[in-house]
Each structure stands twice: as structure tokens, then as C-alpha cells.
């Protein structure tokens, strides 16, 4: 049952990701992107990381792609506009190159022993993927700094910087 679920989610993910980059109309690709996020959160659930699955849907799909949608609607591209984005000979070369490279890489990685024959441990301590585990690692327990609280703080500074940069870029008149 579980393997079926994995294959369903996996193939779903790959196809939706594929369509996301192939479709001409950016609106369509955004939507197929959102569908692929659902598949990803499914995979997270499979990997017993419920908090992440929720974050994926809420933050990633909900916030970031919605932002994309706003931007696209802002441009209201005409059909003729994005039809011009045709395939060229050069793309075929890059597809072949990436395809060949990826296959070789996958073949190598799959067989390397830090990856092969690891089966899922049955019993998982209850708070593996849970919010509690996250809280401990981010904010640390009673007086001890969390494992990742420093990086967490840095990301907050990063977000601030990102906001300022976005404002600077988007300002009408400097």
C-alpha cells in the first residue's frame, strides 16, 4: 500500500512539475505548480513529517505562488505575447545534455552505499516530525540555545533585507 502511495505521489509530482515548465501560459504553469505542491506535501506525510507538509501547503503554495499569481495578473500578458516563447534548436541541445547528465548522476547516486538499502525504521518516536521537535530545535529548552536558533535569527534579518530590497526595486520614484 505504502509503495503504491509513493509511486502515485512521485509520478504525480514529476508530471505536474514537467507541465509547469512546459506550458506556454504562465497561469497554467502556476496552477500545475500548486498541484505539484500537494503531491510534495503528500510525500512529506509519507515521510512522517506532518508539520512540514502543512507548512508546504500554507507557506509555499499559499503565500509564494499566490504572490506569483498576483504578479502575473498585474502584467495581464496577452496570448500573443507569451506565444512567442517558442522552442529553439539550442533548447534541444540543453535538454539532451541535462537528460544525459541527470541519468548518469542518478545511476551513480542510487548505487552509492550511503544511500542504498536503508529501510524505514518502523517505530518513530512520536515527536519526529512534530511541531514540538521543531520548537525545541528552533527555540531551545529552558536556557539552552536551540540547535538552530542562530540560523533562525539570521533568517529573520534576511527577510528584513529582502523586504527592503523589494521596496527599493519596486519604488516608483527613487
Amino acid at each position: 500500500m505504502e509503495t503504491f502511495l509513493f509511486y502515485f505521489l512521485g509520478i504525480g509530482l514529476l508530471t505536474t512539475a514537467g507541465t509547469a515548465i512546459v506550458l506556454k501560459n504562465p497561469m497554467h504553469s502556476i496552477i500545475s505548480m500548486i498541484v505539484s505542491f500537494f503531491f510534495i506535501s503528500g510525500l512529506y506525510l509519507l515521510l512522517s513529517a506532518p508539520f512540514l507538509a502543512v507548512i508546504q501547503i500554507m507557506v509555499y503554495a499559499g503565500a509564494i505562488l499566490v504572490l506569483f499569481l498576483f504578479v502575473i495578473m498585474l502584467f495581464d500578458l496577452q496570448k500573443s505575447e507569451y506565444q512567442k516563447d517558442k522552442f529553439t534548436k539550442f533548447d534541444i541541445v540543453s535538454i539532451l545534455l541535462v537528460g544525459f547528465g541527470a541519468s548518469k548522476l542518478v545511476a551513480l547516486v542510487v548505487t552509492s552505499n550511503s544511500v542504498v538499502n536503508f529501510s524505514k525504521a518502523q517505530s518513530v518516536s512520536n515527536d519526529f516530525g512534530s511541531v514540538k521537535a521543531f520548537a525545541y530545535s528552533l527555540f531551545g529548552a529552558s536556557g539552552v540555545i536551540g540547535q538552530h536558533s542562530f540560523v533562525f535569527e539570521v533568517i529573520s534579518v534576511l527577510l528584513l533585507a529582502a523586504i527592503i530590497s523589494a521596496v527599493v526595486l519596486a519604488k516608483k520614484r527613487l
Binding site: F51, L67, G99, A170
Partner: protein
Amino acid sequence: MVSLNLFIALGIVLFFIGLLGVLIRRNIIIIMISIEIMLNAINIMLVAFNRYKFIENNDGLTYSFFIIAVAAAEASVGLAILIAVYRKRKTVFVNKLNTMSN
């Protein structure tokens, strides 16, 4: 039972699909989306490794969480640039933007 290397293979393929997206499409929006795909692929592999190999702590999970946050920041700046470009050049196609060359 689904073993680790399946997840890793899936992650790598997804990563290269994203990379391919960047190389092929002219539309900047699509390029940004393919970058997001690449980041998601990385998240999947992170979670997979953490779940299968290093079950005792959840570093992988927190990393992927951070990556989502960073991706958000990146996307915001990227879109800001995109708006600025669109407002000035009225196009979102990258092959138009090659005024500078030797």
C-alpha cells in the same frame, strides 16, 4: 517498503527538471518557478535523508523549513526585479535582455 534511494532518485530528477526549466524557457516567471522546483527537490531529499538515516534529530526538517523561508525571500526580490523589468522593458522574455555583449 519504499527505500531511501527511490526518494533520492525522485529528488534528483525533480532538481534536473527545475534546472531544465531555467535553461529552456524564455519567460522569467517560468524560470523563477523552475528555481522553486529545484528548491523543493532539495527539501524532499533533505526530509528523506533525515527520515531514513538520521532519525534521532530533525536537522533535515529544520533545514528544509529554513530553505522554504529563504525561497520566499528570494521569490519576493525576484518578483520585484521582474516588475521593475516589465515596467521598463514591457517584456518578460529573457532573450530580449541582451543589450550588453562584447
